[in-house]
């Protein structure tokens, strides 16, 4: 077991101990590579962490992990964490898919609580929107084909058979260059069913007219068929379990150690330099951060960043940051009248309007709010509950905020979100707040150094979704020996994507190491 020391040279250095970096380091260490994981903060996880206030321990960012599955029907993420890496973490299923409330929808208030399971989902949808079954059924079939196609692409290791693709996954190819809205229109899905089925859009952070259908389809299908899960002791449990596993496998981890430079010679990685002045030799770096950050701050000399690398960054759009109100309440969910786990509340019906509003520093008109006790009953002491309300902001919406107005501003926005939740769900939270903490884009920037506070990777619009990223992965590799993991990697953002991105980056790096590249 590694006891915290480190050497002067490594097979691979992983920069950042977020979801992607932790899995990458564990995967490489398990393969016997001499691996060093460097993290600027004093904790593992990045956004996947926890923090304590009074008698409450809060979850900073996770709502639910997709593609996890119950033990008898494991999803890819459970297989990765439990079978391939082998960590010891307890997971709880989320009880229902979501409750969606759009108070001012065309034709009156929309308030739908949707279950997991394809049959259950279809039946419930038919109840809310009679006549929707056929189009929703077709939509789910399309989503299934997308998931199967991605599985096939993964197995083909970048060399898919075109005949197989066109014969078996024709619908996947035909929908790959369209938005979610394009596909819903083609299926002639009834309007209110469209609203219900797109509720998860905010997890990807792009309005449905621009959001890539393929990525939404893959996420939606995995949630509906594999349920959603959440760790017993917040994300800090599985990230610390990964930390322990990396050490057990002989990997070294250094916290409070920021990488200042990724040293590049003749277009390839030759080492890293840290905030402590450590110079470490390596030919392989996995960056668990954005290309924006790597190129603008880390690559040394800066002239090693090619013009095309800057163009690629500038063509893409960094996704949203978040604003979260964490409440420790001194009443149980039953006493409060909170029966669901996950609440999507959209104060205006059009997702593209909400997307635009998230770019302005104004009253949030969309929120995803979780009552954690409804999945993990003992996540807080008896007679109490944990509720967190999340909305999105672009980092730039906060760019003119001064420190002197910051604290009042964040409490004002927090109050607006609590008011909206109370009004729409008809509950009272205000009178039971024992602990409150509010995280803004500046908070996420503070703890992780994320580019402009972003919690998502590049926006998965049609042209920059998983498939085009996958198909251009090799040619867009601008520095030899450098791979990316996390929400900015080709799988796009979200916990399950960033965790799995770590494995992909590790396997690509391992292959290079083995081939002496």
């Amino acid at each position: 077991m590694s006891k915290g020391g480190f050497s002067d040279s490594y097979d691979a250095v992983v920069v950042g101990a977020g979801n992607g970096g932790l899995v990458a380091a564990a995967t490489l260490a398990a393969k016997g590579c001499k691996t060093l994981l460097l993290e600027q903060h004093n904790l593992p996880g990045g956004f996947a962490s926890s923090f304590v206030r009074g008698r409450f321990e809060f979850e900073p960012s996770l709502h639910e992990v997709s593609d996890f599955g119950p033990p008898h029907d494991k999803g890819n993420v459970r297989i990765l964490l439990e079978d391939k890496i082998g960590i010891d973490t307890e997971w709880f299923p989320v009880p229902e898919a979501y409750r969606l409330i759009i108070p001012h929808e065309k034709g009156g208030r929309l308030d739908a609580t949707m279950p997991f399971g394809e049959e259950e989902y279809l039946a419930k949808m038919e109840e809310y929107v009679p006549g929707s079954r056929e189009s929703v059924y077709k939509f789910i079939r399309l989503c299934e084909e997308v998931v199967d196609a991605f599985t096939y692409l993964g197995q083909s290791r970048g060399n898919p058979d075109k005949k197989v693709l066109t014969s078996k996954y024709g619908n996947f190819l035909k929908t790959a260059s369209y938005s979610l809205q394009d596909v819903l229109d083609a299926l002639k899905m009834p309007y209110r069913a469209q609203k219900i089925i797109t509720a998860y859009w905010c997890y990807l952070g792009v309005g449905v007219k621009d959001l890539s259908f393929s990525i939404f389809a893959a996420m939606f299908y995995r949630y509906i068929t594999k349920q959603a899960f959440i760790p017993r002791y917040r994300s800090h449990e599985f990230t610390t379990a990964l930390d322990m596993k990396i050490r057990e496998l002989g990997g070294d981890i250094l916290y409070n150690t920021r990488v200042e430079k990724i040293l590049v010679e003749d277009g390839r990685v030759v080492g890293v330099e840290t905030s402590h002045g450590d110079r470490i030799k390596t030919n392989h770096v996995i960056a668990n951060t954005s290309p924006h950050t790597v190129y603008s701050r880390l690559i040394h000399p800066r002239t090693a960043v090619l013009e095309i690398a800057w163009k690629t960054c500038n063509a893409r759009k960094v996704g949203f940051s978040a604003f979260v109100v964490y409440l420790g309440l001194d009443k149980s969910p039953q006493e409060l009248g909170l029966n669901e786990y996950s609440h999507f509340i959209y104060s205006t019906p059009d997702t593209n309007d909400i997307y635009d509003a998230f770019h302005r520093l104004e009253r949030p008109i969309g929120q995803a709010t979780v009552c954690l006790n409804n999945a993990v009953p003992d996540c807080s002491p008896e007679g109490t509950s944990i509720v967190y309300l999340t909305t999105l902001f672009s980092g730039d919406a906060w760019k003119n905020v001064s420190p002197a107005e910051y604290f009042k501003l964040k409490n004002r926005i927090a109050e607006e979100m609590i008011d909206e939740f109370e009004k729409v769900v008809n509950v009272n939270l205000r009178d039971s707040i024992e602990e409150i903490e509010v995280a803004t884009p500046a908070t996420f920037a503070r703890y992780t150094g994320a580019f402009n506070g972003g919690i998502y990777g590049y926006e998965p619009v049609v042209w920059d979704s998983v498939l085009p990223r996958m198909m251009t992965m090799n040619e867009e590799k601008y520095i030899k020996g450098l791979e990316f993991a996390g929400g900015f990697a080709f799988r796009c953002h979200g916990y399950s994507s960033s965790l799995q991105s770590g494995e992909t980056a590790a396997l690509l790096t391992y292959k290079d190491i083995m081939e002496g590249k």
Binding site: V52, Y233, N314, P403, G453
Partner: protein, 409 residues
């Protein structure tokens, strides 16, 4: 595939959809080629805001020293511009700063509440107020070494001991003991400056009248507040007319305020908390209405319930892994692991020194420790996997731990 085959067309002809697919990669390349090659700046606006709110380090310089009482001084600290601190970080009244000291070859930290107001930080200074005490390693160091012009290093504002309008009642009952008055002075000033829209009734316990810190300041703040600030002095060792005598009790609080309409904030020494815990229990108030500032280093750990008597007074060895170094150091039963690390000159990270902030979080590899339950602020998974906060962890035998290096700032 388990379900039925369907055949979707987005465009009227399916062939157009396949063409659109074929165009996905060329289209992407075109977009990238058309994008500007502008070099991206290394400090984005939100990252810059985060640095202003939470600077890793603030270089300060002592601008003024004032005697408050015989053994209490207030130090006014200004930004040390030559060392790169242009502006002082804004804060919430009630927060503290963690100072770093180099004393006798050891790097040591101490948290001090800011006794000045946020407006004064914007105007260019912080004040902290330090009581010299017997055996007070750092307070004596400050008294002996800090003079006008001394260079001082602190972190950003820290702590959660502040009024929150979404959580607390607007009438705050402050209970202060000795130098625990400092955060309340900041709050009282903020009330007058219009930053805090609350009223404050302050119960302030001192031993003797001549030991009251900020006596005139508090009187002036009360007089100028139009009834929003009221100070009740409580003297433990003296009977003086116009002052309450004895300790602060539930009965005394009830004599002055309606406890159903206020939130209680407490800041003082460890002994005061022990006394108040039983007094406040009589009031049967909801926890949300009672907030306590952390009080720093645990003293006399062997007196605490659950402490194994056989360990008291013993000396142990601790094997420490820190960066590339592995060293064996002494660890006394009565001192926290953090103090042992500092004593050995190892420069461990720390901020709150009270078990709550987690900055000193370290991995316990081997050995038994004692962690007082009511200051154990660890995450549940850290308890599960053996991570500890050395500032409130005491050795019960020989130990082996991994400690992260301090962040370089």
């Amino acid at each position: 595939m388990t379900g039925d085959r369907i055949n979707i067309k987005i465009k009227p002809l399916g062939i157009l959809d396949l063409l659109a697919f074929k165009n996905l990669v060329p289209g992407r390349k075109k977009r990238i080629q058309k994008a500007p090659a502008t070099v991206i700046g290394s400090l984005q606006p939100v990252n810059a805001l985060a640095c202003k709110l939470h600077p890793a380090v603030q270089h300060l310089i002592v601008g003024e020293v004032r005697e408050e009482t015989g053994d209490v001084r207030t130090y006014r600290l200004l930004p040390h511009k030559e060392k790169g601190t242009e502006q002082l970080a804004y804060f919430r009244p009630g927060q503290y700063l963690s100072f770093t000291f180099e004393v006798e070859g050891a790097t040591v930290t101490r948290p001090y509440s800011i006794s000045s107001s946020p407006q004064e930080a914007l105007a260019g200074y912080y004040e902290i107020t330090v009581k010299r005490s017997d055996g007070g390693f750092i307070s004596n160091y400050i008294w002996n070494n800090w003079t006008v012009g001394s260079e001082v290093e602190a972190g950003g504002p820290e702590g959660q001991f502040y009024y929150d309008n979404l959580r607390d009642r607007r009438h705050i009952v402050g209970i202060a003991g000795g130098s625990g008055i400092t955060p309340f002075r900041s709050m009282a000033k903020s009330i007058l400056e219009g930053d805090l829209d609350i009223s404050l009734t302050l119960f302030y316990g001192s031993n003797r009248k001549d030991e009251i810190i900020f006596k005139d300041d508090l009187a002036a703040l009360q007089a100028a507040s139009g009834g929003r600030i009221k100070v009740v002095h409580v003297l433990a060792e003296e009977k003086v007319e116009g002052f309450e005598h004895g300790f602060i009790t539930a009965g005394l609080l009830k004599k002055y305020v309606d406890l159903d309409s206020c939130s209680i904030f407490i800041c003082g020494p460890q002994a005061m908390y022990e006394h108040l815990d039983s007094e406040l229990a009589k009031l049967e108030m909801r926890r949300k209405f009672i907030r306590k500032e952390v009080f720093g280093e645990i003293k006399n750990v062997e007196r605490l319930s659950g402490y194994p008597a056989e360990a008291a007074g013993k000396n142990f060895k601790m094997l420490v892994h820190m960066g590339k170094r592995t060293v064996e150091i002494d660890a006394a039963a009565g001192e926290s692991l953090l103090v042992a690390l500092e004593r050995a000159g190892l420069c461990p990270p720390s901020v709150c020194r009270s078990g709550s902030c987690g900055v000193c979080r370290s991995l316990l590899i081997k050995g038994d420790v004692f962690i007082p339950a009511d200051v154990d602020g660890r995450r549940q998974a850290d308890k599960k996997f053996g991570y500890i906060h050395p500032c409130v962890t005491f050795p019960l035998g020989n130990l082996e731990i991994v400690v992260p290096r301090r962040k370089v700032r």
